[in-house]
């Protein structure tokens, strides 16, 4: 009888220990997941910071609609520039273009410009059409832009003033909140 009680007690203790172990595992897994989202954001923040104070190259880009409105990328006043490419994250590019359109509607004082780093007018026109953008869109393949974008990740969003980057955003795929935080700070 006593032996039975001891056995039952030991089993109960083991059961309790296993339960606590499982609870601890579940809680720590959850925090690991939330850490990894933050870890990704930290990495992208680090990448974005490398663009600060960088000089934006001066090149001539073509207006997608009217080539007589070709433009030299000289930014004296604060301008948000989004750089796109065919090899870029397509959903990210569309999302950021829409975000910038919404920003332009909210705060019309912002100057915003989109540049497709490809010599492909039709791709630029299609992006302009689908994103319904309300700011100028240019295109031109220029190696200076490719070199400027150290990480070759597209899109790249930069706030430029006096030809130097003040803030940059490398959007994270599937992380809308990260991009919205950047625009809210502007």
């Amino acid at each position: 009888m006593k032996l039975k009680r001891y056995l039952i007690s030991i089993l109960l203790v083991i059961l309790l220990l296993l339960t606590f172990f499982n609870i601890n595992r579940i809680v720590s897994d959850r925090s690991k997941v939330s850490h990894s989202i933050q870890e990704i954001r930290d990495v992208y923040n680090k990448y974005s910071l490398t663009f600060n104070k960088k000089k934006f190259p001066i090149i001539t880009v073509k207006n997608v609609v009217d080539t007589s409105l070709n433009f030299k990328t000289i930014f004296k006043d604060s301008t948000i520039v989004i750089i796109l490419a065919k090899t870029g994250c397509s959903p990210c590019q569309l999302r950021e273009l829409k975000n910038l359109s919404a920003l332009k509607k909210q705060k019309n004082t912002f100057k915003i410009v989109a540049i497709l780093n490809e010599d492909d007018q039709f791709t630029a026109l299609k992006l302009k059409k689908i994103a319904k953008i309300n700011f100028p869109f240019y295109y031109s393949h220029d190696n200076n832009i490719t070199v400027f974008n150290t990480f070759k990740k597209y899109p790249l969003v930069c706030l430029i003033s006096k030809q130097r980057v003040e803030q940059a955003l490398l959007p994270i795929p599937m992380d809308k909140e990260y991009s919205l935080k950047f625009y809210n700070k502007l």
Partner: protein, 329 residues
Amino acid sequence: MNKILLLFIIIVSSVFGQNYSKIYSTGEIHLDQKILLANINKLDIDAEGNLLVTDFLSKSIILFDKKGELIKVLDPTQCHPGFTWRPYLAKFADGYIIVLNSIPWGFKFNTDGTCLGDMDVSFIAPFKILGLSGRKLLGYHTNNTEEQHLSIMDQNGKQIKSFGIFPKKFKNLISRFEGGGIVVDSKGNIYQLNVSSPKITKYDKEGKYIKDIGDYPSYYRRFGKDPFYSIGPAQLFKAIKKIKGKSLATDLFLYNDKTLAILIQNEKGVRTYNLELYSTDGKHLNSKEISTDFNILAIKNEAIYSSFQPEMSSDGNIPNPVIKIFSLK
């Protein structure tokens, strides 16, 4: 005299018999400008001529009637809200529409575009899919290089049967590169094409192997070995360069119930496409090359469908792509 007459009949029938050689334009469909469309990446047509368009850029599946008037933009949010919508293929099945999503799952819609529901939890979206009679589905699964197969599924995507012959030598190319295709004729015979070769494998409706159809045309530049064999992400771009200059069997269509059409992509500086036609018994039907400079999106009832982008209008907008229809003679 009889022998001479017989010879004469043979010669005349071989000259005037079914021997395709030329592609010519027969019409256009201008799609409704009410909907913003960037590209027609994929196209399917049903028996009534309704068009099912997949646009990767705008992430939409749009149903148009045969004149190009908008019927509906397919939207799964009513039947499965919260799912990331990134469709890559939509097909008319037997009495419904199946849509494959990049996050590898699927959705079903009624033929009027209203939501029908989602697929079975066991369903993994294949690379290609088409409808079979009896509301079933046929899938071409190539993602897993060790288990490439064809599958017959029920309407919810639950597997009924798995079969198929895939060349082990090119399993990575088949897995990584968009190409190949599957069609079914009215008798239920299944035809499979892989991107690595212009040869078709024919099965009966139960999936039992019947025979191989087709051969390498003289212009076809074959792969000696799998360019994607045992490579990591860093070597991927080098492997992609090896594909340039080679021929790829990019799609398979049913030109009519007795004729198969293989679409071959060639790159020698400029990309061109060739059609190779075979009867369902294996007879080669075009002695001359049928070559085009445009991609073919679909073939249905002897009509060949492709898309073209009209020029920009004066107000700086580009109209929707136009569907052009061709035929063979």
